[in-house]
Symmetry: C2
Subunit: 265 residues, 2 copies
């Protein structure tokens, strides 16, 4: 048996989230069924993060143990031949036996994409959140600073998800502006359920002038989800990268690091 | 009666091209039917360029005369309420009576988008052409130089389109490279039928090493379509901007000028 990790990209609108659930097509199921068809093994794959329905990924990581003897590169091509539409393996490599896609993760980077034209671009629907109002990006940047650092993020977490602690560390939060909109790029050691989308929804309220930039620090201190903004829709959210202590996917394909890529408009 | 020009964006996959044809949904028909519903007038709109089935537009221009008295901004919002899915009016303004979207045009700018990952990104299919092979971009840039300037472009024009002259002037042709792919951005006084797509297909052959960069000048001199590369697929092509002697659409929304926009990956 060898341990293998795989770098995944998927269209969130094609799946009911990462996690396997009876009767709903999930990313985990798509990957496990492709591996079953390929290797004959009923594997259980481990994902770094459980993305929700509608949330996209460019750099999700999964790991699994397999007896398959195909070399890494051939396994990658064969796997892609079996994956369902909307799911692609971008890279694959045999890794140390102790590597665990979820438990070994040291952090994650997400991007939340917003387009701000008065009328929505008729191309690429479902790839970003469209906000036609004029937004005060300077106020959003001021507000964003309050989220950076180690905080109890209870105010941003959807209730009903019991956890030992709601303390997380946001290492960086940047608003990357372009003429047609912007990306919120956030990196942290971990995120609570719906935390990035609620963070985005709260900053959008600041941008619209419905909430003072200076109120965000109080919001966090109150530890009350009812005080935060709405959860922004999933189609704007991308799991961009999972960070590990060891270098992963040396042949990682071109990807974003908070930088926008190749799209006009 | 007043003369009105409108800036249009559309998803090429939603229409059988610009031009009205019985039994097939076209952009022209979508615009004319929206104006009929809105004003009660059976207008004939003039488009700057006749884009083909599958070709996208971010900056198509159309003009028409109307007796409607709605101010420009209200007409723009009302028009968008009636346009079919996949077609958006980005800006609209009353213009000089002599303005003619097609005859007044002094040039056009197109972009052809290519992504070059080994495995295709499962997001935004239909928004670019995917070429998994490694391409020699330096050779493509050398070859591109031969197209710039005033030439007889018979070798790049699909036959069966009779015209007085196949001489056109390409004012600029740039390959804008990003990690995930590149855009070919071409500006000229006019383009023959399929000319940009055949130019892209020919440069892709150079990039693949199937054609020498230095052979492109001979190709043009031969005036023989059979010597050029294949016509590249329509989903990579965008009509980005139509250029006029007068300034147009002062409130033009954010758009590309050969620069990539907001998309990760």
């Amino acid at each position: 048996m060898r341990n293998v990790r795989v770098l995944l990209a998927y269209d969130g609108s094609a799946f009911f989230g990462w996690q396997r659930q009876e009767g709903f097509a999930s990313v985990q199921q798509g990957l496990e069924e492709a591996l079953l068809a390929l290797t004959g093994e009923s594997l259980r794959v481990i994902g770094a993060g459980r993305t929700d329905t509608g949330v996209h990924a460019l750099g999700q990581v999964a790991s699994f143990h397999t007896a398959a003897r195909l070399p890494d590169e051939r396994l990658l091509f064969a796997l892609n031949a079996h994956l369902p539409r909307g799911l692609v393996a971008r890279a694959l490599e045999t890794c140390p036996d102790a590597f665990h896609a979820q438990k070994s993760a040291r952090g994650k980077r997400y991007a939340y994409l917003v387009r701000t034209e008065t009328f929505p671009l008729p191309l690429g629907r479902g790839l970003w959140h469209w906000v036609p109002e004029a937004l005060d990006l300077a106020a959003m940047r001021r507000a964003a600073r309050a989220f950076v650092g180690r905080h109890d993020f209870t105010s941003l977490a959807t209730q009903g998800s019991p956890r030992r602690s709601n303390v997380r560390c946001i290492r960086g939060l940047h608003l990357v502006a372009r003429r047609s909109g912007f990306a919120l790029v956030v990196e942290g050691d971990g995120f609570l359920y719906n935390m990035v989308r609620t963070l985005a929804g709260t900053l959008l309220e600041v941008g619209r002038g419905k909430r003072a930039a200076e109120s965000v620090a109080e919001l966090l201190a109150a530890r009350d989800r009812r005080l935060a903004g709405p959860t922004a829709p999933p189609e704007g959210l991308y799991l961009v990268r999972v960070l590990y202590a060891e270098p992963t996917f040396r042949n990682r394909p071109a990807g974003p690091r908070g930088r926008p890529g190749l799209f006009p408009g």
